[in-house]
Amino acid sequence: MTTTDAPPAPPRPRRRPGDRIFAGSATGAGILILVVLAGVAAFLVSEAWPAVVAPAEDIPGGDGLTAYIAPLVFGTLLAAVIALLVATPLAVAIALYITYYAPPRLATLMGYVMDLLAAIPSIVYGFWGIAALAPALVPFYGWAEEHLGFLPFFAGPASVTGRTMLTAGLVLAIMILPIISAISREVFGQAPALHREAALALGATRWEMIRMAVLPYGRSGVIGGAMLGLGRALGETLAVALVLSGSGGITVNLIGQSNPSTIAANVALKFPESTGIEVNALIASGLALFVITFAVNMFARWIVNRRADFSGAN
């Protein structure tokens, strides 16, 4: 065998205790997160199980678990989608302005302010939503019902308190705005200078340069940021519990007084006074949220990986 004739392998680097401790603790941390996740999943499944097998009339509402969770899933997705639709274009525009349009000193300041937005606790957004945004939107809802009532989203009757699905979606949009714009800012800033300068040298305007060199490069980053934001919007609890009047079933009417609640808000509102099977039903809805969030993350990962091949990065 040739291997025996090969010159002796270079001496294995001596592993110092520090190395071993570091490697061990890093591995441990990696395993820990998997164990925690598995533990949470196991807890959710085992606690949700009694609600899954319980007779339909024992579940709150009396029509079984699916009928109980379905409007909540719908409300959760609807609020998150509204938030995403509003926040993503805005966040991209902010990020582009900060990276390519704003004077450097203003850009630094704006970046700082955006990061600050992310640090505001969600209950503050909730209070702002209920005390300032909701009342301010009431006239708009009345107007929308009158003039846009042919659209199912504005079918009305319009809420007089403004605590609607659209308000909740807008509050969520503002909450996830800093996440999306921070990540977009990072990737836009990293767009290769060669590409940008080449575009400009070929006579492109600044907008054309952005469209040709920056946006394709940053697309996967924007999508990743949007999915992170979506994750936060799906799980947001307090702000929604405060703002949303969640008292109804599935409806796409965004400006009415009865809206489907969201999973997280519903758990927060109902858990304190719940006992027995009701708790299991709430945990089952939590399991549904867990699965949804997981699916969203997998989907985001898939998009980011797929898009990476087409972006300007290679």
Partner: protein, 361 residues
């Protein structure tokens, strides 16, 4: 604010203690000797403000006793109390049901439990309607509004209750609790008993889905009613602030919520039958005809064992429960939480239950 209330309570206690020294040991069993130890309770969040007043007041009487109360909610409070080695007492917006009573014999032995209606609070029907300062509502109208069948303020049913008012055509926004709550349970119990043909959703802690606006907690309901023109909701009378409060039809008259009327309806209601001697669970007479009584009330209970394993624990519970139902205790709660002090008659019954608390043989 809590501090000043606590100070005021302990001051008034000191004053009362002095005047009570001559005798009348019935309601001062606690202050006869100095106790020490921990007393742990959990339960109704509706009782929380009152409980803070009781903790402060009792602390003035028994400085070495540490009473803690976790406002986890009525259901959780009952569960924790009934569990093996559970809390010493529970506060609950509803009395134990039959199943829980069976569990209670395991927890407390054959002597069973006491359930004292220690917290009575009128639930006001509050509304926000410009130009209408007085509003009368009959039970069927209230039920119609809250089940969504009456949708505008100038509906004939409302007009029939208010012949003199000029009612606008504003749409009605009924506001209900988004969380599970004893207030909702008592309110729907009232609707169910007085207007069962209109209100068909039964007695529920969690508002049936469909229709109306949902708001979180008493404060949320009040805020939503304040914010919405034409909104109407139900909430603790003490929290109503400057909102309009509807008078409710009782017998032939329209009655506004008040502490006296709320206490009166509980005092004149029958006890739930088939329970232990010291189980004062009340079946509130929602269909009363007496204009001195206001039938939409929340009754919350102090629940504990008649017999504790430990003499010290029995003494502590006895002293604390005695304070809670005492005139001072009820007055402190009224001041801090806006509740209705229980009637003297009810106090006598409750006192005999407190006197029965012993340590197990």
């Amino acid at each position: 604010m809590v501090l000043t209330t606590a100070l005021a309570t302990s001051l008034s206690l000191a004053a009362c203690g002095a005047s009570n020294e001559g005798g009348n040991s019935a309601d001062s069993t606690g202050s006869a000797e100095q106790l020490s130890g921990d007393l742990v309770g959990a339960g109704s969040s509706a009782q929380q403000a009152a409980m803070q007043a009781w903790q402060a007041g009792f602390n003035g009487e028994q400085p070495d006793v540490n009473v803690s109360y976790d406002p986890v909610g009525s259901g959780g409070g009952r569960e924790q109390f009934l569990a093996e080695g559970g809390t010493d007492f529970a506060g609950s917006d509803s009395a134990l049901d039959d199943e829980e009573l069976t569990q209670a014999t395991t927890r407390c032995g054959d002597a069973g439990v006491f359930e004292l209606p220690n917290y009575i609070s009128a639930i006001a029907v509050v509304y926000n309607l410009e130009g209408v300062d007085d509003l009368n509502l009959s039970p069927a109208t209230v039920a119609g509004i809250f089940n969504g069948s009456i949708t505008t303020w100038n509906d004939p049913a409302i007009a029939a209750d208010n012949p003199d008012a000029s009612l606008p055509s504003t749409a009605i926004t009924p506001v209900h609790r988004a969380d599970k709550s004893g207030t909702t349970k008592n309110f729907t119990d009232y609707l169910d008993q007085t207007a069962g043909d209109v209100w068909t959703a039964g007695v529920v802690e969690e508002w049936p889905t469909g229709g109306g606006e949902a708001a979180n907690g008493t404060k949320g309901v009040i805020d939503a009613v304040k914010a919405g023109a034409g909104a109407i909701g139900y909430a603790d009378e003490s929290q109503a602030g400057d909102l309009g409060i509807a008078k409710i039809k009782v017998g032939d008259e329209f009655v506004a919520p008040s502490a006296e009327a709320a206490a009166a309806v509980v005092a004149n209601s029958d006890r739930v039958e088939g329970r232990g001697e010291h189980d004062l669970a009340v079946k509130v007479n929602r269909t009363t005809e007496s204009a001195d009584e206001y039938p939409i009330v929340l009754v919350s209970y102090l629940i504990g064992c008649i017999q504790y394993d430990d003499q010290d624990k029995a003494d502590l519970v006895k002293a604390f429960a005695g304070y809670v139902i005492s005139e001072d205790g009820q007055e402190a709660a009224a001041k801090n939480a806006g509740s209705s002090p229980i009637s003297d008659e009810l106090r006598d019954q409750a006192q005999s239950a407190v006197d029965a608390i012993t340590a197990g043989a």
